[in-house]
């Protein structure tokens, strides 16, 4: 069946469906990552977004079981590829990408010239889009919604750490749409995790939980929508509890500490973003997936990393206290594993004075 991708500037791209034949709308973004589609499309940060893969061949290794995903299911609104492979080959594959999209009710369109789409978004900036089959629908801007609330955990979950260096430590993770590998990265270091909803404030609860440090996870959309999280972080800062922010967590930390965030023209969505460690000779290849960035560094903080391509801030470090954050994904999945050391660095800083 044919479907149309309609952009807010009026352009229409016709494509062949390989997913659910359902009309949807969202923000159109592109990612240049060449692989890791199961991890990417289950990343809650993508909620509300129509994802265009610039790598043209998608679906090659099928879909492994849900243990390998980054959340409980597909989070993107729709997937656009240049060529869809319906003959996956991998020992872990349990279904094809198309079958999965259908199963989860997510549209997938084959639009040959995805390079043109990426160029359009790069030049014009991110555009709203919709995919229409038979039913006509209106555009929708996900930035106007509190997307974090949609993907955050509804209840508090505790996960015990594995055998590791930090066996006796507990971190409270504010789940703004956390990828599972953040949890795995901490668990394998022995840390016990208490995962709380985005609007959970440990300081106002009747039965407060005990924790040694805070992790603010990645998540979707405009950070300013997660107002309640910002309030909680302000409190944490006051109490000098160690903080690690990842992606949206970086932006939330900045806002809570008095910084500012803005929307990037077309975002950073790829697995090859070079980030320079400020004051050093090292550059790290990172996975990124964000539309907003920290435009003003809060007082007391300095840039930890900067993007080698466009010079934007890629992480914050407090000059005195163990408050730190990164705009990229140290947990990778998908992408290079080169910055997993961020977790070790944070744990050392947080727990060894």
């Amino acid at each position: 069946m044919k479907g149309n991708l309609i952009l807010e500037d009026g352009t229409i791209f016709q494509g062949e469906s390989f997913g659910a034949e359902k009309s949807i709308t969202g923000e159109t973004v592109f990612s240049t990552g060449m692989l890791g589609y199961p991890e990417a499309i289950t990343d809650p940060s993508y909620i509300g977004q129509i994802l265009i893969a610039t790598y043209p061949i998608m679906g090659s290794y099928g879909v492994a079981n849900s243990k390998n995903w980054e959340s409980d299911g597909i989070k993107i609104s729709a997937l656009i590829v240049s060529q869809y492979i319906d003959t996956p080959s991998h020992f872990q594959s349990e279904m094809s990408l198309g079958e999965w999209l259908k199963k989860e009710g997510v549209p997938g369109l084959i639009i040959t010239d995805t390079r043109l789409l990426a160029q359009k978004l790069r030049d014009k900036g991110t555009l709203l889009g919709k995919i229409e089959f038979t039913k006509k629908i209106d555009f929708y801007n996900p930035d106007s919604d509190n997307l974090v609330a949609q993907v955050s955990t509804k209840k508090i979950v505790e996960i015990a750490g594995k055998d590791g260096k930090w066996k006796n430590k507990t971190i409270m993770m504010i789940d703004c749409g956390a990828k599972r590998n953040i949890i795995k990265c901490l668990n394998k270091r022995g840390v016990k995790l208490i995962i709380v909803p985005w609007n959970y404030n440990p300081f106002t609860e009747k039965t407060p939980i005990n924790f040694d440090a805070i992790l603010i996870s990645n998540g979707p959309g405009n950070p300013k929508m997660a107002d309640k999280t910002i309030i909680t972080i302000k409190e944490i800062l006051k109490r000098k509890i160690p903080i690690l922010g990842i992606c949206l967590g970086n932006q939330l930390l900045a806002l809570a500490a008095g910084g500012e965030t803005k929307k990037l023209k077309f975002g950073h969505r790829s697995q090859n973003q070079p980030c320079i460690l400020v004051g050093g000779k090292r550059c790290y290849i990172t996975t990124q997936n964000h539309g907003f960035y920290v435009s003003k560094i809060p007082d007391g903080f300095k840039n930890w990393f900067i993007n080698a391509n466009d010079g934007t801030s890629e992480g914050l470090m407090h000059k005195k206290y163990p408050f730190m954050s990164v705009q990229f994904h140290p947990e990778a999945m998908p992408g290079p594993e080169d910055t997993e050391w961020i977790f070790d660095f944070f744990l050392e800083r947080a727990f060894i004075n």
Partner: protein, 1076 residues
């Protein structure tokens, strides 16, 4: 790090199987990178056809062998501060290790730049390397070192068959192999020990995937992987022999990142500074404890590491657009990756990993059938002579493009012409890997063999097989009538990479009719950039490809300033780096004429496909269809077809018909030289002599013609895959035998027979003409008599034996022909001289293989001159003075690679590369050249076998000279008797099949002989097999072998009169200034 002022760079010498044009690419980029930093470069490379040895690159060039002996002398003379070892392949690396071991580098205080020598040593010693990897928890396959065949056998029993034999320090896996049993193991190990002292016997990992990473690391520990690649063929096929795709297709994120991290860990642990290639074996079906598998299931091993630029890095560089060699050179100078400008994008950093939005497919080009007796099986050691890279937005598109790029008249994946004379079943063709296998895959799919079954037979991942199946099915579903093809169907075919000709073939029309249908339907390909970042940022990159999986163009047409230059296509026997030099030189000259150069080429080993060579680079097919597409889009001033060898030349006619403006000699005139009948008529009209010839469709006529002109005759069949399969027949029996055997004669495919003139001299005449007037020319002379292909000949300049008068006569004939064909641009003519009679054997209206040689030796750039002619600019005639020195071009053979191939020289070309060296006399120049292609001055013993009386008498004078060497002399029975009769004592050795001691084989094996001379009778004789086994055994035991009388004589004369100490260490410039 000390301040560097002068760096010596070692090249890789002649192109050979396993070490080819990729090192011209890496060396050229390196020189550029170093010069940018104001450092003086000294290059040692005898390969005169390379671009790196051009005037505009290295400051000082030595055309000398890359051996410790010569390089030490150059170091002593030039006193460089640093040396680069990782840009000239294994040859440079081995030479560097040897210089280090001998203390030369220390003595002259020369710093090894980039990866430290200790890391190179560690990576080259298999045992130590495996130990090292174990210490950092990186798995290697279970293996043990053997230094004798007996230990190898006992190791194999311990590990269990099948086992893999790997030879260390070997170019492209030479001496490696897979043994399923003891017998096979013995055969491989005996062969391997002829080259190396230790081998590795390891568990063979059946049908594992082979995955490679190209890693870059700087002195501050920044480390990135520029590219990963997946072999289409499973483990067991050398990566140089395998189809390779980039990026990998069947790995998931976990596997990809796990291997990436392992590669980085290894590179860091070794302290690599620069570039490194890591190869892994990955189990496609690891044993999982439960069915609900998780990402923790991965089973892999490191199988290979190259701590230097390699063929894979050249491929990775072209596949991604990332200038690996350039960056590696900067890192070797101690730069930090974040400080190096990204010249490709100009907007992003060098410290990043390219994101592709296309797929590349590399396919090797083999010419195995060109070698008489060679085994067509491919496996763990390299046999291919070149490669192509197809770029597309689907595997189907890239794969079918690559198949056509091979320039073997295959129209795509479904082409069956490779299998035309095979008697094997599809199953047999799949089971044993040969160049035919990929076509057998398509056939099997057509015959509806299941993907599972094909996978079990081949080990090719079902992912690739499914894609090929899609191609086969799409073709099957195409209407057989052109009128019934819809726009959607045609577009679908084009998106899958089908050529117009193939589509036409299916519905029984020609390609042009499909082209017209495409026009009618407005189906045009898109022009896309390779920008290294998948369109994330706008870039000005000039690196382009053409795809039907797009709906826009990334660039605007160049228009009237543009000139298309057609490159050489894949390197192969007969067309190699020399045509890259001519292409690149043309591009350089176009700048002078204020034209924008547009290169079309598809060979990832070339410099012409480098990002900073041309104004625009189309990494594309050199098919008529694709050239015409690009021409139509670019709408250029014109197109040059005469600098890329025969492939572009062959396109002249169809491009002319398409309305392209062909620069230089007119297409009709090219045709008059190419078409034998027309050309012959022209020679008759001009009253120029040529050997008698005719065309035949029946054996009977062929016999009667041959009888009339007199044997021997030269036979050229008109239909043979990838070659001409020429043969000389000395009598009627041979003629009948050859024609019947080859079933090569029919009315559809007539053969050409010409009189073969024996004992004649062969002459090359290279020239540039303007509107029929020759403006510059060079006459050079073959050392070997006619009968050795001109590409295999040793060529001397200035001519050594030609009288002034005969040279004047050659010039007169050359001028006449140029005039008659109105040549404007480069040309090459070949002449035979016997008893002062000159005959024309060939005229090529294009630059020839000798162009770089003559241009560099004379200092007159023939391509630069020719470019004037392309633009109708007249220029004065140049009288080129004869130099005071002698330059000799010496061929490089790669027979050791080609199991079973007969190393004899004949009318069919067999050499894979060449060098040229200079000397005060021919002996000095030739000896240097011979040493540069792997020759050795005998120290142990010389073996002689002279077939027939004529050879014996002829060789006597030389044999007497050999005695002066005071080395033990060995010979076959008859030769011993003959020598004895003439007062020369030689030890008699029994022939191989006689098995009796003392035996030739035994002496070869025990290293008692280091020079073999085997001259054969021209006629088929009973003992041909004996002679063949001697030659082959010499090759298999790495013994320097001569089979040609003139060449052997010259060599003996050189080593008896002009020993090593008299060889002058002079740079190119010094030779140019040399006056007797």
């Amino acid at each position: 790090m000390k301040k560097l002022k002068k760096i010596i760079i070692l090249g890789s010498g002649a192109l050979k199987i396993g070490e080819a044009g990729e090192f011209d690419y890496s060396g050229s980029q390196t020189i550029k990178a170093i010069k940018e930093d104001g450092i003086k470069t000294i290059l040692v490379n005898p390969n005169i056809a390379t671009i790196q040895t051009s005037k505009f690159l290295a400051d000082i060039v030595y055309f000398l062998p890359i051996t410790d002996y010569f390089v030490e002398k150059i170091i002593a003379k030039e006193k460089p501060d640093g040396i680069l070892l990782s840009f000239g392949g294994q040859t440079a690396l081995n030479c560097g290790l040897s210089l280090n071991k001998k203390g030369v580098l220390k003595k002259y205080n020369v710093e090894v730049l980039g990866t430290p020598i200790s890391a190179i040593q560690l990576s080259e010693d298999r045992k130590e390397f495996a130990k090292h990897l174990k210490s950092i928890n990186i798995p290697t396959p279970r293996s043990l070192i053997a230094t004798t065949t007996t230990t190898a056998v006992s190791i194999a029993q311990k590990i269990g068959y099948p086992v893999m034999i790997r030879a260390g320090f070997a170019l492209g896996g030479q001496g490696s192999g897979i043994a399923k049993n003891e017998e096979e193991l013995k055969k491989i190990t005996i062969n391997a020990f002829a080259f190396v002292r230790q081998i590795l016997v390891e568990k063979y990992l059946h049908h594992y995937k082979e995955i490679e990473y190209e890693v870059v690391r700087d002195i501050d520990d920044n480390c990135i992987t520029v590219c990963n690649m997946e072999n289409f063929d499973p483990l067991g096929i050398h990566t140089g022999e395998s189809i390779v795709v980039a990026p990998s297709q069947t790995l998931n994120n976990f596997e990809f990142q796990h291997l990436r991290s392992a590669a980085i860990k290894i590179v860091r642990s070794l302290g690599i500074v620069g570039e490194c290639n890591v190869q892994f074996a990955l189990n496609p079906n690891p044993k999982t404890k439960n069915k609900k598998s998780t990402n923790a299931d991965i089973e892999y091993y490191v199988i290979e590491l190259n701590a230097r630029l390699s063929r894979s890095s050249a491929l990775a560089s072209k596949a991604t657009g990332y200038p690996l060699a350039y960056i590696a050179a900067k890192l070797a100078l101690g730069k930090n990756l974040t400080t190096i400008k990204n010249n490709v994008t100009n907007v992003t950093q060098s410290c990043f990993e390219p994101a592709l939005d296309y797929i590349v497919v590399k396919i090797p080009r083999w010419d195995i059938e060109k070698f008489k007796g060679a085994d067509e099986k491919i496996g763990t050691s390299m046999k291919s002579v070149g490669e192509v890279m197809g770029i597309g937005r689907t595997f189907e598109e890239a794969y079918q493009k690559a198949i056509r790029m091979l320039d073997l008249d295959f129209e795509g994946a479904t082409s069956q012409s490779m299998l035309w004379n095979s008697t094997k079943t599809t199953k047999q063709l799949l089971e044993i890997a040969t160049p035919k296998r990929i076509f057998a895959v398509a056939r099997a799919l057509k015959e509806e063999m299941s993907i599972e079954q094909i996978y079990n037979l081949t080990g090719i991942d079902p992912w690739f097989l499914s894609r090929i199946k899609k191609i086969v099915e799409t073709e099957k579903n195409l209407p057989k009538n052109i009128k019934k093809i819809s726009k959607e169907q045609l577009l679908e075919m084009k998106k899958m990479g089908f050529s117009d000709r193939r589509i036409g073939y299916v519905c029984n029309v020609n390609g042009l009719e499909i082209r017209n249908l495409r026009k009618k339907y407005d189906i045009k390909p898109s022009i896309f950039q390779i920008d290294t970042l998948a369109g994330e940022f706008p870039t000005k990159t000039n690196y382009l490809y053409v795809t039907y999986n797009g709906e826009h163009n990334d660039v605007e047409p160049t228009g009237g300033d543009g000139v298309i230059v057609l490159g050489s296509g894949p390197y192969r026997i007969g067309s190699s780096v020399e045509f890259d030099w001519t292409s690149v030189s043309t591009v350089m000259s176009l700048k002078k004429h204020k034209k924008k150069s547009i290169i079309i080429n598809c060979n990832p080993e070339t410099v012409s496909t480098d990002y900073d060579v041309s104004d625009r680079l189309y990494f594309e097919e050199l098919t008529f269809e694709r050239i015409a597409d690009i021409y139509d889009f670019e709408n250029p001033y014109g197109i040059i077809v005469s600098v890329g060898g025969q492939t572009p030349n062959n396109r002249a006619k169809s491009l002319n018909a398409h309305g392209c403006n062909i620069l230089g000699t007119k297409s009709d005139d090219i045709d008059r030289a190419e078409d034998r009948t027309k050309f012959s008529k022209l020679l008759d009209e001009l009253n120029i002599s040529q050997p008698a010839w005719d065309k035949f469709s029946h054996i009977k006529e062929a016999i009667s013609f041959s009888k009339n002109v007199g044997y021997p005759v030269l036979i050229r069949p008109s239909f043979v895959l990838s070659g001409t399969l020429m043969r000389i027949c000395h009598n009627k029996e041979e003629l009948i035998h050859f024609l019947k055997d080859a079933t090569l004669i029919s009315s559809e495919y007539p053969i050409i027979i010409s009189k073969f003139i024996e004992e004649a001299k062969e002459i090359e005449f290279d020239a540039v003409a303007f509107k029929g007037i020759i403006k510059a020319f060079i006459i050079s002379e073959h050392i070997e008599n006619a009968g050795v292909h001109s590409g295999d000949a040793t060529i001397a300049f200035p001519p050594q034996t030609l009288s002034e008068s005969i040279q004047v006569e050659i010039e007169t004939i050359g001028r006449k022909i140029a005039k008659a064909l109105s040549i404007s641009g480069p040309c090459n003519m070949q002449f035979l001289i016997k008893n002062d009679v000159i005959q024309v054997i060939e005229v090529n209206i294009r630059s020839s293989r000798t162009f770089p040689f003559i241009s560099k030796v004379t200092g007159v750039n023939f391509i630069d001159l020719a470019t004037n002619a392309f633009f109708d600019i007249d220029f004065p005639e140049i009288n080129i003075p004869k130099p005071k020195f002698v330059a000799v071009k010496v061929p490089q053979f790669s027979f050791a690679r080609l199991t079973g191939a007969d190393p004899i020289l004949h009318v069919e070309m067999a050499s894979t590369g060449e060098v040229a060296c200079f000397g005060e006399n021919i002996e000095e120049a030739f000896l240097k050249g011979e040493l540069a292609v792997g020759g050795k001055i005998p120290q142990k013993g010389i073996f002689i076998s002279l077939g027939g009386e004529e050879n014996k008498e002829k060789f006597l004078k030389t044999a007497k000279k050999i005695v002066e060497l005071n080395l033990p002399l060995y010979a076959t029975e008859k030769t011993t008797l003959f020598l004895k009769k003439n007062g020369i004592y030689a030890n008699k050795l029994n022939k191989l099949h006689e098995k009796a001691s003392p035996n030739i084989l035994e002496y070869f094996q025990n290293g008692k002989i280091d020079l073999a001379i085997n001259l054969v009778e021209k006629h088929l004789t009973k003992d041909e097999t004996d002679q063949y086994t001697i030659r082959r055994a010499a090759i298999d035991h790495n013994i320097h072998l001569f089979t040609n009388f003139q060449k052997a004589t010259l060599f003996i004369s050189a080593i008896t009169s002009n020993y090593l100490k008299e060889m002058h260490i002079r740079s190119w410039k010094e030779w140019e200034n040399y006056k007797k």
